[in-house]
Each structure stands twice: as C-alpha cells, then as structure tokens.
C-alpha cells in the first residue's frame, strides 16, 4: 500500500512538473500600438497577427484595460521549426485609463489581425466652449 501511495505521489509530482513546464513559457509579446486622441475620445490600434475574434480578450478591471490574445498558427503536428522570430504564444499589454473615459462604451473591432479600440469620453468631459457675456 505504501508502494502504491509513493507511486501516486510521484505521479502527481510529475504532473505538477509538466504543468509548471507549460506555465514557464516565453513571456507574452507586447503588441505594437498607435494611440491618438481627439475631442470625443481616444483611438487605439494594435497589431495582433494570429489573434482571432473568438480568442481575443479585452478586459477592463478598475482603471486598467488589458488586451490579451493567444497566437494561433494552425501549423500541422509534423512541422519542425527551423527559424523563428516570433517566439511566444500570446500577446498581452495593459493600459491605465483615465477617469474621463467611458469604459462601459468601448467599441472594438478586429480585422486581419488589427484591433481598433475606440474609447469615448464621458459627456461632461468633452471640451465645451464657455461663452463670455458682456457685463
């Protein structure tokens, strides 16, 4: 019985090691972005080649926006790598949002591996012209 116990213990240890191996992957790639701001909001464009609409995750937690996506190559099992410039299986990048942005109305589109995010400003944060009346 002690034998069997030792065996299961070893098995679980091995399983743990395997899991750890999977976790210790190359660090996520930081996608390149363009960010611009106009009167009504901020536009963020990110290059995410290999990301698909189903697997892309956009997460707003507090004031942090996180873009995360696995890279899918759909390579066949018998493919052997000979040269690689992209050496990570996923993208990840976070941004801190400011308070005047309306995080509940973020609009996102993904086309050909390019993510376009539109972060509108809250109505009261939009610039207003204050009229000066003659006294």
């Amino acid at each position: 019985m002690s034998n069997a116990q030792a065996l299961t213990k070893r098995d679980s240890a091995r399983g743990e090691a395997a899991r750890r191996d999977q976790e210790i992957e190359a660090p996520a790639l930081i996608p390149l972005v363009d960010i611009s701001e106009d009167d009504s909001g901020i536009t963020l464009i990110a290059d995410l080649p290999g990301a698909s609409r189903e697997t892309l995750s956009l997460d707003v937690h507090g004031d942090t926006l996180t873009i995360e996506a696995p890279i899918a190559l759909e390579e066949s099992d018998e493919l052997k790598a000979v040269y690689a410039e992209v050496r990570s299986g996923r993208y990840r990048r976070s941004f801190t949002l400011s308070r005047e942005l309306d995080s509940s109305h973020i609009d996102a589109t993904l086309k050909d591996g390019v993510l376009t995010l539109r972060l509108p400003k809250l109505e009261q944060a939009k610039p207003r012209r204050i009229e000066v009346r003659p006294a």
Binding site: E25, A26, P27, L32, V33, D34, I35, S36, E37, D38, D39, T43, I45, D47, L48, P49, G50, A51, S52, I71, A72, L73, E74, E75, S76, D77, E78, L79, K80, A81, V82, Y83, A84, E85, V86, R87, S88, G89, K111, D112, G113, V114
Partner: protein
C-alpha cells in the same frame, strides 16, 4: 514541444536577443558567420519558418493588409514577400494628439532563401487573421520514401 513554431528551442535565450542586438549596434560587430542575406531582427513582417516532410512553411506576421495588395514571388530559390500597408493612424493636428505611433506603415519587402529541395512551381499562399502562410512543396525526389525490399527468391 519542439514541433511548435511558437515554442522554438532556445526560448531561454530569447530574452538575450534584444541585448545581443544592442551590443551588435554599439560594438559594430554583426555576427561574422551570419548568412549573407541575414537581416536585422525586428524587420516587418516577422517571419517564422518550419518544415514538414512534404513542404516548407513560412508564416509572415503581417497584420492589416489587403490580401490583394500582398505580393509573393519565387525567383531562383528566393521567396519575396512585398506589399504596402496604408497607415490609418491619425495625423497629429490642431485637434488630435498622438501618444504612440509604434506600428509601421508604408511599403515593405522581405526575402527568404528557400532550401534546395523546394519546388518553386508548387507554392500556396493564404492570408488569415493577419498571418500570411506560404507553403512551398518539396520536390518529389527529396521526400522521404519507403523502399520496398523484394524477396530475391
């Protein structure tokens, strides 16, 4: 593990690539034994290459390009990927502030030298989710083959 292009052996050293590149730049020493067609890392589009028994597969990470404007040619054992990416990044103006402009735009061109056994007549290219995948079949003669042993009697 080794079979995946994205977990290329040598991951441990991948972190040193940037350091290596900076050292190269500072010391002016490109690796003396590098390929004559080697390009600096960080070129657009990034390329991963793998082989199967039947084909050579090239994955080019080229997001945001109209497939009709992508040009793939094979000439004398050289595969050329060229095209143009229109920059839709906003121009800075009176009412627009630009905070980041990291993405490249404009014309690009990359050349990959194919192995001897690649057959330039059988090339297949597809574009999906911003990745251009090019499959170049190997010549029949170079594929692994099973040779039947006949009975001599």
């Amino acid at each position: 593990m080794v079979s995946s292009l994205l977990r290329f052996p040598g991951d441990v050293f991948a972190d040193f690539d940037e350091l290596h590149r900076q050292l190269d730049r500072v010391l002016g020493t490109r690796n003396a034994s590098s390929s004559i067609r080697a390009v600096q890392r960080g070129s657009f589009p990034a390329v991963n290459i793998g082989v199967t028994p039947e084909a050579v597969e090239i994955f080019a990470f080229a997001p945001g390009i109209d497939p009709s404007k992508l040009d793939v040619t094979v000439d004398k054992g050289l595969l050329t990927i060229s095209g143009e990416r229109s920059g839709y990044a906003a121009e800075a103006g009176a009412k627009v502030n630009v905070y980041a402009s990291e993405r490249s735009d404009g014309a690009f061109r990359r050349v990959v030298s194919l192995p001897e056994d690649a057959n330039p007549d059988r090339v297949n290219a597809t574009y999906r989710n911003g990745i251009l995948r090019i499959q170049v079949q190997k010549r029949e003669a170079s594929r692994p083959r099973r040779i039947e042993v006949k009975d001599a009697r």
